[in-house]
Amino acid sequence: MDGIVRCSHDTVYAHDLAHAIGVPQLTFWSDVGPGGVAPAAMVGQAVAAILSGQAETVVVFRELNGRSGRRYGLADAAGDRVGGAGTYDEFFLPYGLLTPGQVFAMLARRHMAEFGTEPEHLGHIALTCRERANANPAAQMHERTMTMDDYLGSRPIAEPLRLFDFCLETDGACAVVVTSTERARDLRRPPALIRAVAQASIPDPQPGMMYPILMRDSLTELPAAAVARTLWSRAGLGPGDVDVAQLYDCFTITVLLQLEDWGFCAKGEGGPFAASGNLGPGGSLPINTAGGHLSEGYVHGMNHVLEGVRQIRGTSTSQVPGAETCLVATTPLPPGSGLLLRSDG
Protein backbone atom coordinates (compact mmCIF):
# COMPACT_ATOMS: atom_id res chain seq x y z
CA MET A 1 0.00 0.00 0.00
CA ASP A 2 1.49 3.33 -1.00
CA GLY A 3 -1.39 5.80 -1.10
CA ILE A 4 -3.98 7.21 1.30
CA VAL A 5 -7.04 9.33 0.61
CA ARG A 6 -8.50 11.18 3.54
CA CYS A 7 -11.72 13.17 4.01
CA SER A 8 -10.77 16.76 4.69
CA HIS A 9 -13.08 16.73 7.74
CA ASP A 10 -11.25 13.78 9.31
CA THR A 11 -9.18 14.23 12.48
CA VAL A 12 -6.68 11.60 11.26
CA TYR A 13 -4.11 12.72 8.69
CA ALA A 14 -2.63 10.46 6.03
CA HIS A 15 0.70 10.19 7.84
CA ASP A 16 -1.15 9.37 11.09
CA LEU A 17 -2.78 6.37 9.45
CA ALA A 18 0.43 5.40 7.63
CA HIS A 19 2.24 5.37 10.98
CA ALA A 20 -0.52 3.42 12.70
CA ILE A 21 -0.63 0.62 10.17
CA GLY A 22 3.09 0.60 9.28
CA VAL A 23 3.19 1.79 5.69
CA PRO A 24 6.88 1.74 4.64
CA GLN A 25 6.61 4.69 2.26
CA LEU A 26 3.73 6.80 1.00
CA THR A 27 3.96 8.02 -2.60
CA PHE A 28 0.52 9.58 -2.75
CA TRP A 29 -1.96 11.21 -0.41
CA SER A 30 -4.97 13.38 -0.96
CA ASP A 31 -7.62 15.27 1.00
CA VAL A 32 -11.13 15.33 -0.39
CA GLY A 33 -14.06 17.26 0.95
CA PRO A 34 -16.38 18.37 2.11
CA GLY A 35 -17.74 15.72 4.51
CA GLY A 36 -20.71 13.89 3.15
CA VAL A 37 -20.09 14.60 -0.50
CA ALA A 38 -16.53 13.26 -0.35
CA PRO A 39 -16.73 9.44 -0.29
CA ALA A 40 -17.31 8.64 -3.97
CA ALA A 41 -14.92 11.45 -4.91
CA MET A 42 -12.34 9.99 -2.53
CA VAL A 43 -12.51 6.70 -4.41
CA GLY A 44 -12.19 8.77 -7.58
CA GLN A 45 -8.96 10.30 -6.28
CA ALA A 46 -7.57 6.81 -5.66
CA VAL A 47 -8.51 5.81 -9.22
CA ALA A 48 -6.79 8.91 -10.60
CA ALA A 49 -3.64 8.22 -8.59
CA ILE A 50 -3.46 4.62 -9.77
CA LEU A 51 -4.21 5.38 -13.44
CA SER A 52 -1.61 8.16 -13.46
CA GLY A 53 1.06 5.98 -11.87
CA GLN A 54 1.31 7.95 -8.62
CA ALA A 55 0.34 4.95 -6.51
CA GLU A 56 -0.35 1.25 -6.90
CA THR A 57 -2.65 0.56 -3.97
CA VAL A 58 -4.59 3.23 -2.12
CA VAL A 59 -6.51 3.10 1.16
CA VAL A 60 -9.57 5.35 1.26
CA PHE A 61 -10.79 5.87 4.81
CA ARG A 62 -13.15 7.84 7.03
CA GLU A 63 -13.38 7.79 10.80
CA LEU A 64 -15.32 9.90 13.21
CA ASN A 65 -16.39 9.89 16.81
CA GLY A 66 -19.73 11.49 16.07
CA ARG A 67 -21.19 10.36 19.36
CA SER A 68 -18.40 10.66 21.87
CA GLY A 69 -16.25 13.28 20.15
CA ARG A 70 -17.21 16.04 17.78
CA ARG A 71 -20.97 15.80 17.35
CA TYR A 72 -22.16 16.86 13.92
CA GLY A 73 -25.16 19.08 13.42
CA LEU A 74 -24.53 21.35 16.37
CA ALA A 75 -24.66 25.06 15.77
CA ASP A 76 -21.26 26.32 14.69
CA ALA A 77 -21.66 29.48 16.69
CA ALA A 78 -19.26 29.48 19.59
CA GLY A 79 -17.95 33.05 19.33
CA ASP A 80 -19.48 36.41 20.13
CA ARG A 81 -20.14 37.06 16.45
CA VAL A 82 -21.03 34.75 13.60
CA GLY A 83 -20.06 34.93 9.94
CA GLY A 84 -17.57 36.98 7.97
CA ALA A 85 -14.30 35.92 6.32
CA GLY A 86 -16.03 34.22 3.42
CA THR A 87 -18.31 31.97 5.47
CA TYR A 88 -21.46 33.99 4.69
CA ASP A 89 -22.88 32.62 7.95
CA GLU A 90 -23.90 36.20 8.83
CA PHE A 91 -26.86 35.83 6.46
CA PHE A 92 -28.16 32.71 8.19
CA LEU A 93 -27.06 32.00 11.77
CA PRO A 94 -28.39 35.24 13.35
CA TYR A 95 -31.88 34.10 12.29
CA GLY A 96 -31.58 30.82 14.17
CA LEU A 97 -30.84 28.82 11.02
CA LEU A 98 -28.12 26.78 12.67
CA THR A 99 -28.02 23.15 11.51
CA PRO A 100 -28.14 20.93 8.42
CA GLY A 101 -31.40 19.42 9.66
CA GLN A 102 -33.06 22.83 9.61
CA VAL A 103 -31.86 23.45 6.05
CA PHE A 104 -33.15 20.09 4.84
CA ALA A 105 -36.42 20.72 6.68
CA MET A 106 -36.87 23.84 4.55
CA LEU A 107 -36.18 21.81 1.41
CA ALA A 108 -38.69 19.19 2.59
CA ARG A 109 -41.37 21.82 3.20
CA ARG A 110 -40.82 23.23 -0.27
CA HIS A 111 -41.04 19.76 -1.82
CA MET A 112 -44.29 19.18 0.05
CA ALA A 113 -45.67 22.51 -1.20
CA GLU A 114 -44.66 21.93 -4.83
CA PHE A 115 -45.48 18.24 -5.17
CA GLY A 116 -47.81 17.23 -2.34
CA THR A 117 -45.19 15.07 -0.64
CA GLU A 118 -46.41 13.74 2.72
CA PRO A 119 -44.72 12.73 5.97
CA GLU A 120 -45.63 9.08 5.33
CA HIS A 121 -43.59 9.20 2.12
CA LEU A 122 -40.53 10.13 4.15
CA GLY A 123 -41.56 7.52 6.70
CA HIS A 124 -41.25 4.74 4.13
CA ILE A 125 -37.62 5.73 3.59
CA ALA A 126 -36.94 5.62 7.34
CA LEU A 127 -38.68 2.25 7.65
CA THR A 128 -36.76 0.79 4.70
CA CYS A 129 -33.44 1.68 6.29
CA ARG A 130 -34.55 0.41 9.68
CA GLU A 131 -35.62 -2.95 8.26
CA ARG A 132 -32.24 -3.41 6.57
CA ALA A 133 -30.52 -2.48 9.83
CA ASN A 134 -32.61 -5.07 11.66
CA ALA A 135 -30.99 -7.66 9.38
CA ASN A 136 -27.46 -6.29 9.89
CA PRO A 137 -25.85 -7.34 13.20
CA ALA A 138 -23.30 -4.52 12.88
CA ALA A 139 -25.97 -1.82 12.67
CA GLN A 140 -26.67 0.49 15.61
CA MET A 141 -30.41 -0.12 15.20
CA HIS A 142 -30.06 -3.87 14.64
CA GLU A 143 -32.36 -4.82 17.50
CA ARG A 144 -34.78 -1.91 17.32
CA THR A 145 -37.72 -2.35 15.01
CA MET A 146 -39.87 0.58 13.88
CA THR A 147 -43.44 0.92 12.62
CA MET A 148 -45.01 3.78 10.68
CA ASP A 149 -46.79 4.76 13.91
CA ASP A 150 -43.40 4.88 15.66
CA TYR A 151 -42.12 7.10 12.87
CA LEU A 152 -45.09 9.45 12.82
CA GLY A 153 -45.10 9.60 16.62
CA SER A 154 -41.44 10.54 16.95
CA ARG A 155 -40.85 14.02 18.26
CA PRO A 156 -40.52 16.93 15.85
CA ILE A 157 -37.01 18.39 15.54
CA ALA A 158 -37.27 20.91 12.72
CA GLU A 159 -40.73 20.63 11.20
CA PRO A 160 -41.69 19.03 8.94
CA LEU A 161 -38.82 16.71 9.93
CA ARG A 162 -39.01 14.53 13.03
CA LEU A 163 -36.51 12.45 14.99
CA PHE A 164 -36.62 9.43 12.70
CA ASP A 165 -35.97 11.60 9.64
CA PHE A 166 -32.52 12.25 11.10
CA CYS A 167 -29.39 10.09 10.86
CA LEU A 168 -27.60 8.65 13.87
CA GLU A 169 -24.61 9.80 15.88
CA THR A 170 -21.89 7.20 15.54
CA ASP A 171 -18.38 6.35 16.62
CA GLY A 172 -17.13 4.44 13.62
CA ALA A 173 -14.56 3.94 10.89
CA CYS A 174 -14.60 2.50 7.38
CA ALA A 175 -11.95 1.92 4.72
CA VAL A 176 -11.73 0.46 1.23
CA VAL A 177 -8.63 -0.59 -0.71
CA VAL A 178 -8.38 0.55 -4.33
CA THR A 179 -5.88 -0.96 -6.75
CA SER A 180 -5.57 -1.86 -10.42
CA THR A 181 -8.09 -4.32 -11.88
CA GLU A 182 -5.22 -6.62 -12.79
CA ARG A 183 -3.94 -6.76 -9.23
CA ALA A 184 -7.42 -6.97 -7.71
CA ARG A 185 -8.18 -10.05 -9.80
CA ASP A 186 -5.15 -11.71 -8.25
CA LEU A 187 -6.42 -11.34 -4.69
CA ARG A 188 -8.42 -13.81 -2.61
CA ARG A 189 -11.70 -11.89 -2.60
CA PRO A 190 -13.62 -11.10 -5.79
CA PRO A 191 -13.12 -7.46 -6.84
CA ALA A 192 -15.80 -4.82 -7.09
CA LEU A 193 -14.88 -3.06 -10.31
CA ILE A 194 -15.17 0.71 -10.51
CA ARG A 195 -17.15 1.40 -13.66
CA ALA A 196 -17.19 5.17 -13.27
CA VAL A 197 -16.82 7.98 -10.76
CA ALA A 198 -18.06 11.56 -10.97
CA GLN A 199 -18.01 14.79 -9.03
CA ALA A 200 -20.16 17.82 -9.72
CA SER A 201 -21.11 21.07 -8.08
CA ILE A 202 -24.52 22.56 -8.58
CA PRO A 203 -24.59 24.82 -11.64
CA ASP A 204 -23.45 28.34 -10.63
CA PRO A 205 -21.93 27.15 -7.33
CA GLN A 206 -22.55 29.14 -4.17
CA PRO A 207 -19.74 29.64 -1.64
CA GLY A 208 -19.88 28.70 2.03
CA MET A 209 -20.38 25.32 3.62
CA MET A 210 -24.11 24.74 3.30
CA TYR A 211 -26.55 27.57 3.90
CA PRO A 212 -26.02 29.51 0.65
CA ILE A 213 -27.56 26.63 -1.30
CA LEU A 214 -30.85 28.19 -0.22
CA MET A 215 -30.02 31.03 -2.64
CA ARG A 216 -30.53 28.78 -5.69
CA ASP A 217 -33.62 29.19 -7.86
CA SER A 218 -34.62 25.55 -7.31
CA LEU A 219 -35.05 24.35 -3.73
CA THR A 220 -36.08 20.85 -4.74
CA GLU A 221 -32.99 19.75 -6.68
CA LEU A 222 -29.68 18.65 -5.22
CA PRO A 223 -26.26 18.62 -6.93
CA ALA A 224 -27.12 14.94 -7.45
CA ALA A 225 -28.76 15.91 -10.74
CA ALA A 226 -25.45 17.21 -12.11
CA VAL A 227 -23.45 14.29 -10.71
CA ALA A 228 -25.95 11.87 -12.25
CA ARG A 229 -25.60 13.38 -15.72
CA THR A 230 -21.82 13.03 -15.57
CA LEU A 231 -21.76 9.55 -14.03
CA TRP A 232 -24.31 8.02 -16.40
CA SER A 233 -22.46 9.51 -19.35
CA ARG A 234 -19.06 8.19 -18.19
CA ALA A 235 -20.44 4.76 -17.31
CA GLY A 236 -22.47 4.30 -20.48
CA LEU A 237 -25.23 3.11 -18.18
CA GLY A 238 -28.38 4.63 -16.70
CA PRO A 239 -30.77 4.33 -13.78
CA GLY A 240 -32.44 1.30 -15.36
CA ASP A 241 -29.16 -0.63 -15.12
CA VAL A 242 -28.81 -0.25 -11.35
CA ASP A 243 -29.60 -3.38 -9.31
CA VAL A 244 -29.09 -1.81 -5.89
CA ALA A 245 -28.22 1.68 -4.62
CA GLN A 246 -26.63 3.17 -1.53
CA LEU A 247 -28.05 6.69 -1.28
CA TYR A 248 -26.61 9.23 1.15
CA ASP A 249 -29.17 9.61 3.90
CA CYS A 250 -28.30 12.32 6.37
CA PHE A 251 -32.09 12.82 6.36
CA THR A 252 -34.98 10.98 4.72
CA ILE A 253 -35.67 13.96 2.46
CA THR A 254 -32.09 13.68 1.13
CA VAL A 255 -32.93 10.20 -0.16
CA LEU A 256 -36.22 11.33 -1.66
CA LEU A 257 -34.54 14.17 -3.57
CA GLN A 258 -31.80 11.84 -4.82
CA LEU A 259 -34.33 9.29 -6.10
CA GLU A 260 -35.57 12.04 -8.39
CA ASP A 261 -32.25 13.64 -9.26
CA TRP A 262 -30.62 10.31 -10.15
CA GLY A 263 -33.53 9.59 -12.50
CA PHE A 264 -35.10 6.65 -10.69
CA CYS A 265 -38.39 8.52 -10.88
CA ALA A 266 -39.61 11.86 -12.22
CA LYS A 267 -39.13 15.12 -10.29
CA GLY A 268 -41.88 15.37 -7.71
CA GLU A 269 -42.66 11.64 -7.67
CA GLY A 270 -40.08 10.59 -5.09
CA GLY A 271 -42.71 10.31 -2.35
CA PRO A 272 -45.11 7.92 -4.12
CA PHE A 273 -42.08 6.04 -5.52
CA ALA A 274 -40.73 5.49 -2.00
CA ALA A 275 -44.13 4.49 -0.67
CA SER A 276 -44.80 1.90 -3.38
CA GLY A 277 -42.41 -0.79 -2.17
CA ASN A 278 -39.67 0.05 -4.66
CA LEU A 279 -36.93 0.49 -2.06
CA GLY A 280 -37.15 -2.86 -0.29
CA PRO A 281 -35.80 -6.28 -1.23
CA GLY A 282 -37.41 -7.40 -4.47
CA GLY A 283 -38.36 -3.81 -5.30
CA SER A 284 -37.19 -2.02 -8.43
CA LEU A 285 -34.46 -0.21 -6.47
CA PRO A 286 -33.39 -1.73 -3.14
CA ILE A 287 -31.54 0.97 -1.21
CA ASN A 288 -29.26 1.29 1.81
CA THR A 289 -29.08 -2.43 2.35
CA ALA A 290 -26.93 -2.18 5.49
CA GLY A 291 -29.33 0.33 7.07
CA GLY A 292 -27.75 3.57 5.90
CA HIS A 293 -27.02 6.61 8.02
CA LEU A 294 -30.58 6.49 9.29
CA SER A 295 -30.21 3.09 10.97
CA GLU A 296 -26.78 1.49 10.42
CA GLY A 297 -24.55 4.37 11.48
CA TYR A 298 -23.19 7.69 10.35
CA VAL A 299 -19.72 7.33 8.86
CA HIS A 300 -20.21 10.20 6.43
CA GLY A 301 -21.06 8.04 3.41
CA MET A 302 -18.04 5.76 3.57
CA ASN A 303 -20.24 3.00 5.02
CA HIS A 304 -22.30 3.34 1.83
CA VAL A 305 -19.17 2.62 -0.24
CA LEU A 306 -18.47 -0.47 1.86
CA GLU A 307 -21.99 -1.75 1.50
CA GLY A 308 -21.76 -1.20 -2.26
CA VAL A 309 -18.70 -3.48 -2.34
CA ARG A 310 -20.53 -6.10 -0.25
CA GLN A 311 -23.45 -6.15 -2.67
CA ILE A 312 -21.11 -6.73 -5.62
CA ARG A 313 -19.33 -9.50 -3.69
CA GLY A 314 -22.59 -11.07 -2.57
CA THR A 315 -21.86 -10.65 1.14
CA SER A 316 -24.52 -8.18 2.27
CA THR A 317 -26.85 -9.09 5.13
CA SER A 318 -29.64 -7.96 2.78
CA GLN A 319 -28.12 -9.31 -0.39
CA VAL A 320 -29.90 -8.44 -3.64
CA PRO A 321 -29.79 -11.72 -5.60
CA GLY A 322 -27.54 -11.49 -8.64
CA ALA A 323 -26.62 -7.83 -8.04
CA GLU A 324 -24.16 -6.80 -10.73
CA THR A 325 -24.38 -3.00 -10.62
CA CYS A 326 -24.48 -0.83 -7.50
CA LEU A 327 -24.75 2.94 -7.35
CA VAL A 328 -23.14 4.73 -4.41
CA ALA A 329 -24.51 8.26 -4.34
CA THR A 330 -22.87 10.68 -1.93
CA THR A 331 -24.82 13.64 -3.18
CA PRO A 332 -26.28 15.77 -0.42
CA LEU A 333 -25.00 19.40 -0.29
CA PRO A 334 -23.25 21.61 -1.35
CA PRO A 335 -21.69 19.64 -4.29
CA GLY A 336 -21.71 15.85 -4.71
CA SER A 337 -20.04 12.71 -5.99
CA GLY A 338 -21.12 9.33 -7.29
CA LEU A 339 -19.62 5.91 -7.87
CA LEU A 340 -20.82 2.99 -9.97
CA LEU A 341 -19.57 -0.46 -8.95
CA ARG A 342 -19.83 -3.55 -11.16
CA SER A 343 -19.18 -7.22 -10.72
CA ASP A 344 -16.29 -8.77 -12.67
CA GLY A 345 -17.39 -10.51 -15.83
Binding site: R81, G83, E90, G96, L98, M106, P156, I157, P212
Partner: protein, 140 residues
Protein backbone atom coordinates in the same frame (compact mmCIF):
# COMPACT_ATOMS: atom_id res chain seq x y z
CA UNK B 1 -23.59 35.91 26.74
CA UNK B 2 -26.36 35.08 29.21
CA UNK B 3 -27.66 38.05 31.13
CA UNK B 4 -30.57 38.53 33.54
CA UNK B 5 -32.95 38.92 30.61
CA UNK B 6 -31.75 35.67 29.03
CA UNK B 7 -29.18 34.92 26.39
CA UNK B 8 -28.55 37.63 23.84
CA UNK B 9 -29.13 36.97 20.17
CA UNK B 10 -26.37 35.67 17.91
CA UNK B 11 -24.84 38.77 16.38
CA UNK B 12 -23.53 38.80 12.80
CA UNK B 13 -20.12 40.07 11.83
CA UNK B 14 -21.43 43.29 10.30
CA UNK B 15 -18.22 44.92 9.06
CA UNK B 16 -16.91 42.24 6.71
CA UNK B 17 -15.27 43.61 3.57
CA UNK B 18 -17.64 41.68 1.29
CA UNK B 19 -20.88 41.63 3.24
CA UNK B 20 -20.65 44.67 5.53
CA UNK B 21 -22.58 46.97 3.17
CA UNK B 22 -25.69 44.77 3.71
CA UNK B 23 -25.63 45.64 7.40
CA UNK B 24 -24.57 49.25 6.80
CA UNK B 25 -27.67 49.69 4.65
CA UNK B 26 -29.80 48.12 7.37
CA UNK B 27 -28.51 50.72 9.85
CA UNK B 28 -29.89 53.34 7.42
CA UNK B 29 -33.21 51.47 7.29
CA UNK B 30 -32.62 50.18 3.77
CA UNK B 31 -32.52 46.68 2.28
CA UNK B 32 -29.63 46.67 -0.19
CA UNK B 33 -27.99 43.89 -2.21
CA UNK B 34 -24.90 43.82 -4.37
CA UNK B 35 -25.31 44.06 -8.14
CA UNK B 36 -23.02 44.15 -11.16
CA UNK B 37 -22.70 47.76 -12.27
CA UNK B 38 -22.13 46.81 -15.90
CA UNK B 39 -24.93 44.31 -16.56
CA UNK B 40 -27.12 44.64 -13.48
CA UNK B 41 -26.91 41.00 -12.38
CA UNK B 42 -27.80 40.37 -8.74
CA UNK B 43 -24.71 39.13 -6.87
CA UNK B 44 -26.00 37.42 -3.74
CA UNK B 45 -24.35 36.13 -1.68
CA UNK B 46 -22.02 39.05 -2.37
CA UNK B 47 -19.03 38.65 -4.65
CA UNK B 48 -16.47 40.95 -6.22
CA UNK B 49 -16.73 39.65 -9.79
CA UNK B 50 -19.67 39.26 -12.17
CA UNK B 51 -19.71 35.75 -13.60
CA UNK B 52 -22.11 36.80 -16.35
CA UNK B 53 -20.26 39.70 -17.95
CA UNK B 54 -16.82 39.59 -16.33
CA UNK B 55 -17.03 43.03 -14.74
CA UNK B 56 -15.27 43.86 -11.47
CA UNK B 57 -17.47 46.95 -11.00
CA UNK B 58 -20.22 46.36 -8.44
CA UNK B 59 -22.58 48.48 -6.39
CA UNK B 60 -25.15 48.06 -3.64
CA UNK B 61 -28.70 48.79 -4.74
CA UNK B 62 -31.76 49.26 -2.58
CA UNK B 63 -34.24 46.47 -3.35
CA UNK B 64 -37.94 46.16 -2.49
CA UNK B 65 -38.72 45.40 1.14
CA UNK B 66 -41.41 43.01 -0.03
CA UNK B 67 -41.30 39.41 -1.07
CA UNK B 68 -43.07 36.07 -0.96
CA UNK B 69 -42.58 33.08 1.31
CA UNK B 70 -40.70 30.20 -0.33
CA UNK B 71 -40.48 27.78 2.59
CA UNK B 72 -40.02 27.63 6.34
CA UNK B 73 -39.21 25.35 9.25
CA UNK B 74 -40.55 25.38 12.79
CA UNK B 75 -37.58 24.58 15.00
CA UNK B 76 -38.61 22.56 18.04
CA UNK B 77 -35.28 21.03 19.08
CA UNK B 78 -33.08 23.66 20.67
CA UNK B 79 -29.45 23.83 19.59
CA UNK B 80 -28.38 27.26 20.84
CA UNK B 81 -29.37 29.16 24.00
CA UNK B 82 -29.77 32.37 22.01
CA UNK B 83 -32.66 30.84 20.09
CA UNK B 84 -35.28 29.36 22.43
CA UNK B 85 -37.73 26.99 20.73
CA UNK B 86 -40.18 26.99 19.20
CA UNK B 87 -39.27 29.49 16.54
CA UNK B 88 -39.73 29.66 12.79
CA UNK B 89 -37.08 30.29 10.14
CA UNK B 90 -38.47 31.65 6.87
CA UNK B 91 -36.98 31.90 3.38
CA UNK B 92 -38.27 34.81 1.31
CA UNK B 93 -37.98 35.51 -2.43
CA UNK B 94 -37.48 39.28 -2.64
CA UNK B 95 -39.80 40.96 -5.14
CA UNK B 96 -38.29 41.93 -8.45
CA UNK B 97 -34.67 40.93 -7.87
CA UNK B 98 -34.61 37.15 -7.46
CA UNK B 99 -32.76 37.19 -4.13
CA UNK B 100 -33.59 34.72 -1.40
CA UNK B 101 -33.23 36.06 2.15
CA UNK B 102 -33.69 34.39 5.52
CA UNK B 103 -35.80 35.71 8.37
CA UNK B 104 -36.98 34.53 11.76
CA UNK B 105 -40.27 34.64 13.65
CA UNK B 106 -40.97 33.67 17.25
CA UNK B 107 -43.17 30.69 17.92
CA UNK B 108 -45.24 28.88 15.35
CA UNK B 109 -47.13 31.40 13.20
CA UNK B 110 -49.70 30.33 10.62
CA UNK B 111 -47.90 30.46 7.25
CA UNK B 112 -48.44 29.45 3.64
CA UNK B 113 -46.00 29.26 0.74
CA UNK B 114 -46.29 32.23 -1.57
CA UNK B 115 -47.77 34.55 1.04
CA UNK B 116 -46.57 38.17 0.99
CA UNK B 117 -43.77 39.08 3.38
CA UNK B 118 -42.23 42.40 4.35
CA UNK B 119 -38.84 43.39 5.69
CA UNK B 120 -38.36 45.07 9.05
CA UNK B 121 -35.22 46.18 10.76
CA UNK B 122 -34.40 44.51 14.04
CA UNK B 123 -32.11 46.47 16.38
CA UNK B 124 -29.82 44.10 18.30
CA UNK B 125 -27.05 44.72 20.83
CA UNK B 126 -23.96 46.78 19.98
CA UNK B 127 -25.73 48.77 17.28
CA UNK B 128 -26.22 45.78 15.01
CA UNK B 129 -29.26 46.09 12.75
CA UNK B 130 -30.59 42.93 11.13
CA UNK B 131 -32.98 42.96 8.17
CA UNK B 132 -35.73 40.52 9.15
CA UNK B 133 -38.99 39.32 7.56
CA UNK B 134 -42.58 38.95 8.72
CA UNK B 135 -45.93 38.32 7.08
CA UNK B 136 -47.61 41.41 5.64
CA UNK B 137 -50.48 42.29 7.97
CA UNK B 138 -53.81 41.19 6.41
CA UNK B 139 -55.35 44.67 6.54
CA UNK B 140 -52.71 46.19 4.27
Amino acid sequence: MTGPAGPSRLLPVDDDLDTGPFFAAARRGELALQHCTACGLLLHVPKAYCHRCGSWETDWRVVPGRGSLLTWTVVTHQVHPAHPVPYTVVLVAVDGCGAHLVGSLPGRPELATGQPMEVWFEHLDHGVVLPNWRPVAPHE
